[in-house]
Symmetry: C2
Subunit: 296 residues, 2 copies
């Protein structure tokens, strides 16, 4: 196991422990709801957003205990969005990470409420005192997470995604959609991790945010590439689920080769944004590589 | 119009204006989502929770501009919960305040996302700087709202409510459900209004919280009484929608006369909790009367 893999495994374990403790116990009423919340959050996922928060926290020399709390808040938002996205009214998915989705394992009403309650719990976790030396900084962190989650962030991106099915989106519209849908929460993860630590200059925060923007977009481009490749290889079709549902993707707009090239360019941009930082940005650099180079 | 009615109308207008400004404009993308959010929140409702926040704010001599921001945060949480509760997976209601519900006027996916985005926006509104002199107090306010909204508050009460259909709930279980489902957010409204103002003693805050608890429960008991009476009068049945769907209510457990008596006792308790306060608690007293005495 490389040093980076060991670091990832350690952060993932730290997040799992913190989530296990922060989620209400399933034996407490309402039990079925708490059971569903734990089912939705625990025991799965690459925890990419927490990893980005920890890496940004290392850059800002933040107390890992603080970053952990910010990281679980972001991960709860991410988990709630998956629960709601999987519901029949949205993507109607029955499997997630090899397990039945929440509305299949429980029921639709419980999935709806579990998602709602996870969003509340995310803000509750981030509002516990002591996440920053200055409470005003912590208020700013709450603002960042709320804005990244709402109609001009993740939920808004999801709305545009739903509207786009069967419509010929142009590249700038596709990019706008992804900047909201997945990019906003990834940028929030990086910014929150950094804000847990020592104050950084405005220029440094700007570079860090640009890194996060590139990584967030690269993440989506690579997802599209992997989706298209997986189906080409295993299903013998030229594109997978997205093409089947007539959703525009980077691959459908650019073709596979150009989409791959775009991912590579975004990776280079992410590295360039970190050029002014030293060794403390090593984990951020490794994560950019990990996100772009996974599987291909 | 009585002085109290004029006060209510003035606060309701203030809330409407603030909500109109705080909600993203419908002309901004994603337009359909923003349109649905505005449809869900604007132009309707008694604004009971904001009224309670304003009344508590008067007791604490709070700046009305601050209380307005706390009030719209609570109202956005309330509005999102109605959007999700009305969906087919939950209560499957097609009308709300005489208008088609959000999933009927728009679609289920938009209703789901509009509710989600309204919850985020509530926390964003409450996290704007300057709601309290001390940012740590404001963090506490965010904690209160998040806890009141989540699985040990409103969302949890809704989960218990859904599980209880067709089951013989006992009175303590019914009370537990309502303390979470409607009581938690009503208590939060009162507490947030007070926290916008001058610091109060722990004993005073405790009395105020007890007032809120009584008012929250009374609100639900009166709802059950009105539901039963309306149908008796207009439909010729002994109970209305709740009985038809086999939901336990205060009326089904206690009978109409005893439920009315309970509402009266809770009103008296609410007044008793305010006994140590002077004229500054006048609006809180009037609101307790308004909530219990409406329509009967």
């Amino acid at each position: 196991m490389s040093d980076f893999q060991a670091w990832m495994a350690a952060q993932q374990a730290r997040v799992e422990t913190a989530l296990t403790e922060a989620l209400p116990e399933a034996r407490h009423a309402p039990q079925r709801l708490h059971d569903a919340m734990r089912y939705a959050v625990l025991g799965g996922g690459k925890r990419v957003r927490p990893l980005l928060a920890f890496a940004a926290g290392e850059l800002a020399q933040a107390d890992p205990l603080r970053v952990t709390r910010a990281a679980i808040a972001v991960e709860m938002i991410h988990a709630y969005s998956l629960v709601h996205d999987d519901m029949p009214a949205m993507d109607n998915d029955v499997l997630r990470r090899g397990k039945p989705t929440v509305h299949v394992e429980f029921d639709e009403a419980t999935a709806l409420l579990a998602g709602d309650a996870l969003q509340s719990l995310a803000f509750e976790a981030l509002a516990q005192p002591g996440l920053a030396d200055d409470a005003a900084v912590q208020l700013n962190m709450l603002n960042i997470l709320a804005a990244a989650s709402g109609s001009r962030g993740m939920a808004g991106g999801q709305a545009i995604d739903l509207e786009s099915v069967g419509k010929p989106l142009e590249l700038p519209e596709l990019e706008f959609m992804h900047i909201l849908k997945t990019g906003a929460l990834i940028r929030a993860s990086v910014n929150l991790g950094a804000l847990c630590g020592k104050p950084m200059s405005e220029a440094d925060m700007k570079n860090l945010d640009h890194y996060a923007k590139c990584v967030g977009l690269a993440f989506q481009v690579v997802d599209d590439v992997l989706d298209a490749e997986a189906s080409t290889a295993t299903l013998g079709k030229t594109a997978g689920k997205d093409a089947a549902s007539n959703k525009p993707t980077y691959v459908s707009l650019l073709g596979l080769a150009e989409a791959r090239q775009l991912a590579g360019e975004l990776r280079a941009d992410a590295h360039a944004a970190l050029a002014g930082f030293g060794e403390e940005a090593a984990r951020l650099r490794q994560l950019a590589d990990y996100i772009v180079l996974r599987e291909f």
